[in-house]
Amino acid sequence: MTLPAFNLFPHLLGEWLKGTGPESDIVVSTRVRLARNLKGYPFTLRATPQQRDELMLAVSEALKAARLEKSVVALKLDDVHAIHRDVLVERHLISRELATAEGPRAVVFGRGEMLSIMVNEEDHLRLQWIKSGFDVDRAFKALVKVDKALETRLPYVTSPKYGYLTACPTNLGTGIRVSVMVHLPALTLKDHVQKVFKAAEKMNHAIRGLYGEGTRAFGDFYQISNQATLGRSEEEIIESVKAILPKVLEYERRMRGTLFSDERALVEDKVFRALATLRSARMLNVQEMMSHLSLLRLGIDLGFVNEISAKTLNEIFILGQPSHLQREEGREMTPGERDKKRAELVRSRLVVGRN
């Protein structure tokens, strides 16, 4: 089956995949999200299709009134093909839950894909801002600006005791989740990731896989985020995430140093075998691609590989995802066809002398 055109993205990569920003050798991106619900409507779980339609209309009018609508793309997800909804998931613009849910629901995104607003997810509104690198303050500041523009036009439901009321009590209070996506290949190789998990849990933080809740780490990417949302101010929560990060960074860098000095031949071997596989494979599944890219990224950071840029890696990383491949091909593909296409894509991007 052929797919309709779906190209709403001004750039190949969203801002968060640029590979720039503070600590970008380890920190891929920083994401801040706020959960909000509107007065006068039941939460999404109990809202009727009509109420959900009304809500989407209210949001679109609020965006117009706030003069935000010109700089964003708004999509009703019922009108979007399932594969293209997955493209949005792969670009971190919507959650997998919103992609696979049913009924009236929408996403609004813009500003180089840094801003996204999910409508009728578990909460009426999920506002998020993603920046590349470790940059919580700026992401939060930018998001609060949008939140403030909306709150004067959309009556949020709050209480003095519980703060912003949310469908799930785990988001209650501030409704804030600060997630930092980190690449920890050295800690993974040295089998120290579990220690980081335990330390983070002690500090009341959670570590999850690449695509957030419900996923396990793959490609050595992990997300560190705050767990508690109630009883602390947004600033306190941000500070607590900012406090744990330097420890993780220091630990990963120390392990990279050990690998570089004590186990250089071993790591170099792994890195160049990964590169050789990526340059030669005729079939590549997504897990395999991710794990080889992870090693290659480590090789670039350790200075073993010079001819490939971080930008090229990030492009492969996103374009090699299943739904991005299918969008590019313009049709649905079987897993086998995708593995073949993925291998072609990777080979063409990593041609010797191209970069």
């Binding site: 039941p42 709150e151 469908a167 799930c168 009590p169 009341n204 999850r208």
Partner: protein
Amino acid sequence: MICDCCHKNEAKIQVCDVEQNAVAHQFAVCNDCMTLLKRLVFDPATPLIPTADALKQVQAMLSSKDKNLALPDAPGALTVAAAKPEAQAPACPTCGMTLSEFKQRGRFGCANDYEVFAAHIDPLLERIHDVTPPQHKGRLPQGQADTSATDKARELAALRDQLESAILAEDYERAATLRDRIAAISGEPVLKSARPKKGGK
């Protein structure tokens, strides 16, 4: 394909463990078992465990569920403590949510549920957010930031209720926290007799 967990329903979701960047174990589960599994495996409050172990726990839950519809009180799981059948709050008049449905889904149906089930969720909130008593701190929409006198009175009344039950339960640590909280809001000490009298030299 039949669910690897309940062995009854059709499996819809593939779950895999990734070790050393490769798929180590793979399972197929149905939507119902996935809901339970998610709480065990992906609840940020619980440590990561192998999926096989989690499936066993889900099976245990299912067999206990047949008897009394209650999930075992796993640490961090979204269960409501001390909810005996006779003490169950009535359904929410606005959205029809009941305590047992909330326990099952982990989600509320409307904002009113927070009032209807207030007595049941405060202990849960204390556990999730590690804060006693549950009290919001931080931003509120402009115009709502200043809690009005009536809100304050309502909050104080709620806190005094909680204090009373804490004392009845002989949970003095919690009572002390609540007392300080009430004092901070009302601007006056709650237990006058507990304070040494001044000027009585």
